[in-house]
Amino acid sequence: MLNNITMGQYYPVDSKVHRLDPRIKLILTIVFIVIVFMAKTFLGYAVILGFVWLTARLANVPFRMLLRGLKPLRIIIILTFLLNLFFTTGETVWVQFWVIRITKEGFLQAAFYSLRLIFLVIGTSLLTLTTSPVSLSDGIEILLSPLKVIHFPAHELAMMMTIALRFIPTLLEETDKIMKAQMARGADFESGNLLSRAKAMVPLLVPLFVSAFRRAGDLAMAMESRCYHGGEGRTRLRVLKLTRNDWIACGAMAALLALIILEGIFL
C-alpha cells in the first residue's frame, strides 16, 4: 500500500560514486546544474548525456531508477514542451491548422527546454540515489559551517534534517501499520466522498500524532542522557576525508565544464 512510495530514494549498492565524499558530490551537483544552464546547443547536451550515462554506469544505478525520478515532474515537463511548441514564433512553419502553428524553431526550443529540465532532475537524482540521507546532511552541515560566524545554526539544521529523514521511514511504517489495524476493524479509507474520506483519516491521524510525539519525547530523553548539548565541540565518528577518487571526480566535472564553455565560444 505505502511501500511503493520511496522517500529519500537512496539506492543502496556499493560503487565508486557512492563512496565519493558527500561534500564533493554536493558541490559537483551544483556545478552540474550550472553547466546544464550554460549549454547552448544539442551537441552540448549530447556531451552532458554521455557524462550522465557514464556516471550512472560507474554508480551501478540502473537507468530505469533515474527515469523514475522524472515521474512526479512529467506534467511540468510535458507542459513546458507543449507551451514552447505552440507559442514560439519562428520562420519555418511545419504545421498550420486553425490557431495551431508549429514551427521548426518552436519544436527545437521545446525539445531543448524539456531536455534541460530532464537533465536537471536526473543530475540531482544521481546525487540522492548515490548518497545516503545521513551522509548528505553531514555534507550540508560542513558546507554551511562557515556561516556559523553570522550565527547561522548549521549544526542544528543538519541535526534536524537527519532526524527528520531518519524518522520518515519509521513514520511511514507506523502509518502503514495503523492503517492496517484500523482496516482490520473495518475502516474504509478508499471510498466515499471527500468529507467522509477526511473523516476516515481521524482514526489514522490521532494515533500517528500520539506516537510521533511519544517518539520525539523518547528521542530527546535518549539524546540528553547521552550528554548531547548541541554542535559545540562535537567530534564526528566518520571524519570525511578527500580521496584520489574525489579529485578525479572534480577533474571530470572540470573537463565537462571546459567542454561546455568551449561549445559556448565556438558554436
Binding site: 495503523i178 473495518g186 482514526p203 500520539v210
Partner: protein, 287 residues
C-alpha cells in the same frame, strides 16, 4: 471458518535491489475451534503471514482460502471477510484514537453498520471479555490507562466485531507478568466459552505451552514443523538450531532426566512437572 493457506509466497519490494522473500511456499490448514500457536525467530515471516490471513497483504503467489473462498479473488468483499477474521496487531494500543474507551471499542461494530443498541451491547460484551469494568472504564479516555489496560481496550475493539477467528500478533509483548497472565487467561476463556478459533504469534514458549493445541514453527519464511506442543517441544535440537527455546519446564525436565530422575519425556507445562516431582518426592520419602 476453516482457513487454508496453500503455497503462499510473499516478496517485499519485488523487482528491486531490496527484494526480500518473507514467505516461501507456506501451506497449512486451520480447522474450526483450534488454538494454534505460530512461533519463530524475529524475521521468520510470522507477522507477514498473519497479515495475509485477513487480506491486508496480497500474496506474490499462492492462495489463502477462507471457507473455501479465495481471499484475493475478484468478487470477494474483503471488508466483510475481515470482520469475521479479527486481527490484533503487535502493540495494538497504538491504534487507539477515540475520546473514550467505549467509543473506541465501538469503532469496529460501527463500521459493520450495526444499530446503536447493538453497538452498545457489543461494547459491553467486549469489555466483559477483556475483564474491564464497564461502569468504571467506559467513559474514561484510553490514553490515561496503564499499558496493560490500553492493550485490553485495543483487543476489545477487535472482539466487539465478534469474529469467528481471532488472530493475535505477540499479544503479550512488553507487558509485566500480571498483564501477561490477564491476557492469556482471557484468551483461554474466550476459546473455551465462545469456541473462537485462535491463532497466536508469540516468542514465549511458556505461553504456547500453556495455551496452544497445535504449533506451527517458522524459520526463514518456511514452515519447518507443524504439530502438537508435545511433538514440537520434544525436538529440542531442532528448536535450538533455528534459534528458539523450549519451555522452561521442558528444559528443567530434560536436565533432571539426564541426572537419572524417573520423569516422562513429554512434560512442558509447569503444573505437569510439579505433579511428577511431587510424586517422586513422596515415593522417596515413603522409602
Amino acid at each position: 471458518m476453516p482457513i487454508e493457506v496453500s503455497h503462499l509466497t510473499h516478496c517485499y519490494s519485488e523487482g528491486s535491489a531490496l527484494r526480500t522473500v518473507a514467505l516461501d511456499d507456506v501451506s497449512f490448514r486451520i480447522e474450526n475451534g483450534e488454538f494454534v500457536g505460530i512461533i519463530g525467530h524475529t524475521g521468520s515471516g510470522k507477522s507477514t503471514l498473519v497479515q495475509h490471513l485477513n487480506g491486508l497483504l496480497k500474496p506474490t503467489s499462492g492462495q489463502v482460502l477462507v471457507d473455501g473462498e479465495d481471499l484475493n479473488g475478484e468478487h470477494v468483499n474483503r471488508r466483510a471477510l475481515r470482520q469475521h477474521i479479527g486481527l490484533v496487531f503487535q502493540y495494538p494500543e497504538y491504534q487507539l484514537f477515540e475520546e473514550t474507551v467505549a467509543k473506541d471499542i465501538a469503532f469496529g461494530p460501527k463500521n459493520q453498520g450495526l444499530t446503536a443498541a447493538e453497538i452498545d451491547e457489543r461494547v459491553r460484551y467486549a469489555m466483559e471479555c477483556v475483564h474491564l469494568d464497564y461502569q468504571k472504564y467506559a467513559e474514561r479516555s484510553p490514553f490515561e490507562l496503564s499499558g496493560g489496560q490500553m492493550r485490553r481496550v485495543a483487543i476489545a475493539g477487535v472482539l466487539a466485531m465478534k469474529p469467528s477467528v481471532l488472530i493475535l500478533d505477540e499479544p503479550t509483548a512488553g507487558l509485566d507478568p500480571r498483564g501477561r497472565d490477564r491476557i492469556l487467561g482471557m484468551l483461554e476463556e474466550l476459546h473455551a466459552r465462545e469456541n473462537v478459533t485462535i491463532l497466536m504469534v508469540s516468542h514465549s514458549m511458556d505461553d504456547m505451552a500453556r495455551l496452544a493445541s497445535r504449533l506451527i514453527v517458522m524459520s526463514d519464511g518456511k514452515v519447518v514443523a507443524d504439530g502438537t506442543p508435545r511433538e514440537i517441544f520434544m525436538q529440542e535440537d531442532m528448536m535450538t538450531s533455528i534459534g528458539l527455546d523450549i519451555p522452561e519446564a521442558a528444559r528443567l525436565c530434560a536436565r533432571l532426566r539426564a541426572k537419572g530422575y524417573d520423569l516422562p519425556a513429554d512434560l512442558f507445562r509447569p503444573e505437569q512437572l510439579k505433579e511428577q516431582l511431587l510424586r517422586i518426592w513422596k515415593e522417596g520419602s515413603a522409602c
